[in-house]
Symmetry: none
Subunit: 234 residues, 2 copies
């Protein structure tokens, strides 16, 4: 579960530290060093999944930014974590009214921030529909339960195999280069040979049995999961 985090913070070195730490945790990061910049960054594509917002900014107050975020459809549902320097007592009432989702008091630990970001993302993800059951021909996977079946018989997949299968299923019909699979399934900073993909595709095909034929090899390009189940019959 990676995601895009927007950090609105005018202290450049603090912002950079956060950026570094968040990236090393697998998040994508967008920085903004002023309020106006932050507002623009919040509503540009792709919209961030979480916003970390400093209360004290040179041009706009954090509460004002929060209010404006809540006025726009694009950012209305985006969780906001407010940061306040120690001693500057938050006006809790104002904070509530503008709809921040969480608070941190400086100095805070990066660990703590990451925990809260993850928690907020989980919450949004949970309410955000996207059915957890995906069916495809004789195949069925349940993301919540982390289980997979072929013809009503459950097959035991490892964590990596499950992610790989899910990547295929959610991009069915489209070619996936090995590099694309590596960054999607293994992660951006994966230090792995492209041939590793082959091995895991093989293992996945084995476990899928006959349904392994859903995965096609495109010589010189990559892999493609069939677009329609019937194609397998051909």
């Amino acid at each position: 579960m990676s995601g895009l985090v927007l950090v609105i913070e005018d202290e450049v070195d603090l912002a950079t530290t956060l950026e570094y730490n968040l990236r090393s945790e697998g998040f994508q990061v967008r920085l903004a060093h002023s309020g106006r910049q932050g507002l623009a960054a919040a509503s540009s594509d792709p919209t961030p999944d979480v916003i970390v917002l400093d209360l004290m900014l040179p041009d706009l107050a954090g509460t004002e930014i929060c209010r404006r975020l809540r006025e726009q459809d694009r950012t209305r549902e985006t969780p906001v974590i407010m940061c306040t320097a120690k001693g500057e007592e938050i006006d809790r009432v104002v904070g509530f009214e503008v709809g921040a989702d969480d608070y941190l008091v400086k100095p805070f630990s990066v660990r703590e921030l990451i925990l809260r970001i993850r928690a907020l993302m989980r919450r949004v993800q949970r309410t955000e529909g996207e059915p957890s059951l995906i069916r495809f021909g004789r195949l069925k996977i349940d993301r919540d339960a982390h289980r997979a079946w072929v013809d009503e018989g459950e097959i035991g997949l490892t964590a990596l195999e499950f992610r790989l299968l899910h990547a295929f299923l959610s991009r069915r019909g489209r070619v996936q280069t090995r590099d694309a699979l590596l960054s999607d399934v293994w992660g951006i900073d994966a230090d792995v040979t492209t041939r590793t993909v082959d091995t895991h595709v093989k293992r996945l095909r084995e476990k899928l049995g006959d349904a392994g034929a859903y995965i096609e090899t495109l010589r010189g390009v990559g892999y493609r999961f069939k677009g329609e189940p019937e194609e397998a019959e051909a």
Copy 2:
């Protein structure tokens, strides 16, 4: 789904803010600014659907109020959300022991509070009329009494173990990552290693005996409580 929320909170401006926000979300609100007032308000008609309770009150401790609420038939089943200032986290454990249903650490956001109120209302609505007992195969737990049995034999669980078991039971069949368990069972601001989860799962399995097999380990993912008791036989 509107409902009546009783807010027991001595800080008048915070209480007023909550009242305003809850009303604008469609709830009816009743305010009480002291413990005694709150106890009276809790059992007067119509009885509230949810109670939001500050732990620090001028006259009575929040835990004491909670205890008394649980002693009265009229309020025994009413869900209670406890609010505690940061630093009083010891009381969190006590809070669950006296039968609070959820807690929030100040400063919290109104959106978070509303989400939790809705969740509790949904839960009550679903289980209303049924006893507070949850049965699952050879397992039985009583949420109000905080007791647990395996095969009609009671097992002594600590407060933490009980919450962990309850978290598993209420999300049965779905994978729980260690991070998710940490924020749900320990609280978002818990300063704890993810490996701590392992230890407590182990202790819980021990106490559950054979029924400990209900808790499955998914390597590289997290833990999953079985969806159906019969799966254990397989």
